[in-house]
């Protein structure tokens, strides 16, 4: 499975608000790029259309604004990530329980890993 810059550009055009320049999307931090690329992979796998993605993301942003999100653009990919979590659960790819379990396992892995070593998930991290 390959992800191409053309797909990335199409996604950046199809979804409102994606920060981009003439060459494609731009990111502020590495995790934003990973979250973007994961949505791209799920879209290519046929899990959702960009229309469906944009609607779910739009609803997520509205909800956040109602709760006082300043909506300065800095939080855009936080909403993107929440949308990913919502849609993978809604589509039966996984459940929010499993997401939490993996999140805790990564936390455990990060805590036991000394700086400089790559943080890797092992079965022992799932307490």
């Amino acid at each position: 499975m390959n992800l191409t810059p053309q797909q990335a550009m199409r996604a950046a055009v199809a979804v409102p608000g994606v920060p981009r320049d003439e060459d494609g999307p731009v990111f502020r931090e590495p995790w934003e790029a990973r979250a973007f690329a994961m949505a791209l992979a799920l879209h290519e796998a046929g899990i959702f259309s960009w229309k469906e993605w944009a609607e779910t993301l739009g609803a997520q942003i509205k909800r956040a604004q109602a709760e006082g999100d300043p909506d300065t653009g800095e939080t855009y990919y936080r909403h993107w990530l929440a949308t990913l979590e919502t849609l993978v659960a809604a589509k039966g790819v996984t459940t929010s329980d499993i997401l939490h379990r993996y999140r805790d396992a990564w936390d455990h892995a990060a805590d036991r890993t000394p700086h400089g070593a790559p943080i890797e998930l092992t079965p022992e991290d799932f307490g």
Binding site: M1, P5, A8, E29, V93, R103
Partner: protein
């Protein structure tokens, strides 16, 4: 973690409620693990795509910092004295706990940044690290043979210029303030920004010369 790790990075300090990963990063990793296990995502394919964007992700923030330091002496002074605060003035909030230090190139000293242990990098100002920054050859040779590494990057410095290599840690990230190119007197901050390259802020390159931009 072992004492050895503490020793190696001196200022390192981990307490129990401090993780190398932010809450957001934990969630991103959780998703990626699950999607990888289920075959929806191939981490290598993600890496390929992300590498394409590495140059665009954030050097623009560092570019603004450098261009401002070149055109505003008071800002330059603040930047060299307390880089974390001076960079925050421009509103780039980094991750908690990362302390920024800016090292200034002069005719006498050229600065170069590496992370010998892994690939610590000033993400908020420079975005994603380039692939070579994370590579073992760069990480080892930057220390043992910095002049040779610079030559590979096409940079030759006078023998009288000393090269100093700064080793990043989880808590301290370095940014190089390159020398302002000659022939740019009276240039605006925006014009100067055109000359700043990512590699010039890592110290493996020099800024563009006025003749190189249109």
């Amino acid at each position: 973690m072992s004492d050895h790790d503490h020793d190696h990075h001196g200022r390192h300090h981990h307490d129990h409620d401090h993780s190398e990963l932010s809450e957001t990063e934990l969630r991103v990793r959780a998703l990626e693990s699950i999607l990888t296990e289920k075959g929806y995502v191939d981490p290598a394919a993600l890496d390929v795509l992300i590498d394409l964007y590495e140059k665009k992700i954030g050097p623009r923030n560092g570019v603004r910092v450098v261009a401002k330091a070149w055109s505003d002496p008071a800002y330059r002074e603040r930047l060299l004295k307390d880089a974390t605060a001076a960079i925050a003035e421009l509103d780039y909030s980094g991750r908690q706990g990362e302390h920024m230090v800016v090292v200034e190139n002069t005719p006498e000293q050229h600065n170069m940044v590496v992370c010998t242990l892994c690939s610590c990098y000033p993400h908020p100002v420079l975005g994603l690290p380039p692939v070579w920054y994370k590579s073992a050859p760069y990480r080892s040779r930057a220390v043992s043979d910095p002049r040779g590494v610079l030559k590979d990057f096409g940079v030759t410095l006078p023998d009288t210029t000393k090269i100093r290599v700064w080793d990043s840690t989880a808590e301290i990230r370095y940014l190089v303030l390159p020398m302002r190119p000659e022939g740019t007197e009276g240039w605006s901050e925006e014009q100067l920004a055109e000359l700043v390259t990512r590699d010039s802020m890592i110290g493996t390159g020099l800024p563009k010369q006025p003749g190189e931009i249109t």
